[in-house]
Amino acid sequence: MSEPAATVAHGAIDAATLGELKAFLYREAGLADASDYDGWEALVTDDMHYWVPRGPADYDPAEGLSYINDNRPRLATRLRQLRSGSRWAQVPHSPMRRLLSNIEVLAADSAAGPYTVAANFVVYELAAQSTGALHLWPGRATYRLRREHGQLRMAQKIVELVTARRPLPNLAFLL
């Protein structure tokens, strides 16, 4: 396997940019692991779309049913609920650690972005609120990232779970 940058047909991504994109993904993952809602929300754009489809992301989310299909206002509501202190499905927060790998830049409109980046992931989540069971959440995330005032920001995150067509336990944390 060659460097991921080589997968971009137009070769617009240099090593420094690739490093910057990877650093963003790891930072986003760390904030989600920590249930740091303020820190995580600071990474998203005003038109953020957060989508966890029920199966592969091969349908129009407007016309079908999804686990999560948040536009920016609904995402803000989700985060407000999590911060409320009485979102019992996350009181206490699930201890989590997620691993990212196979990071690829799928597309770049220009060298300066926006970029479409994908990564495989596994989240290890402990359902500390009730059963104490360890839940595994494997999947692939596709991010749309663009620069605002020079900083990378997330305009879309699509999370395709390996288990998306099977019944899932509570998914009340940030995936």
Partner: protein, 424 residues
Amino acid sequence: MHTDYQALVRDDRVHGSLYVEPGVFRDEMTRIFHRGWSFIAHASEVPEPGCWITRRIGLEPYILTRDMDGRLHALANRCSHRGTALCWEERGRSKHFQCTYHGWSFALDGRLTGVAYRGGLNKDMGELGLDRAGQVEAYRGFIFVNPSGTAGPLAAHLGTGGQALIDRLCDLSPQGSIRVPPTWIGHRIASNWKMWPESDNDGYHFQFVHSSTVKAAPDTYYQETVLGGESGNISHAVDHGQGHFELDLRPSYKAPLAWLGTTQEKTPEYCTAMESAYGAERAGQLMMDGPPHAMIFPNLFLGELNLAIVEPVAPNITVHHHTAVQLEGVDARINRRILRQSEAALGPASFIVPDDAVTAEKMQSGFGGASPENHAAQGKAWIDLSRGMARETMDGPRRVGQVSDETTNRAFWRHYRDVMGATS
């Protein structure tokens, strides 16, 4: 093991062992899910000849098919030769099913139509069709099955109360019919299945379990319909008999289409279509009343503009499947609005049901090893369901309480005791 259901289900309380005992669970699979009627699917899920879906009734795997003549069959998803599952996908379309083990083929009506190396088979193929549910009937597109075939007509199970609940939902379509999207979302919960008919129709818990929803989205219409404490709330909890029950939110709706989170001014096409279909007066009433929030015993939740199926998996595991209702003959924006409301309310990542799920899991944990011998006999591990008993009133066949009363829980358990207590 013989369980004394009359002793464990009292008028004012039930025993925690009913949520954990494997023997109780086995009895339920027979007495409720085998001998009685259960909801299996909506007709729009098998719209054409050759369409089929797979689903479970109790623990039994079924393929619901529509044969080439349009008739419905609920077939065991189990080859009549050696028991192999014939279909492992959620849905499909075909003219027959072929077993992957020895190649036996079955028609959509369950007949055995092909056997490999048939010379060795000494039996008549007519004896080797697939097992099937004894009764399959539909009411306004809602398909129910009775595996034993001994439950009597569906109309008697639903009663006028159950039928009226389904009517209220279907009549929100100007064509009088609904459809469901081709997907349901499953929510796996570490609790007994009976907590879901109870939780989905509990008018007492909302401001406690769902306080975070209220804080995060304060415009939710639940504010007006199920919150506000006793003095400010005029919704009802209703027992329709036969194990069907309802949170009747109609008295609390202050304007038409409140249940859709919109107004008539914003939805002129829908209002016009409804008035053309039903006349102004009845359309106005339907749009004021909105959909039911109700349970059809034992497994169908009419969750306003959602449907949910409660699927028991084990004494301590349940899958709560849901999908969104889509109204036939309305403009696409209305149905998209319903999809978005459904995503907000139900499923593992929604704003509401995950908090019910942890609550049910904490109840399951609380019952631990509750047993009739060690606990019930000593007066321990009972749960109290007496709230509002003294202020219920009878309205014809309906028993009516205040929305925060446990009238709905008692409706479930009264019928449960009738069904489970029957000895044959």
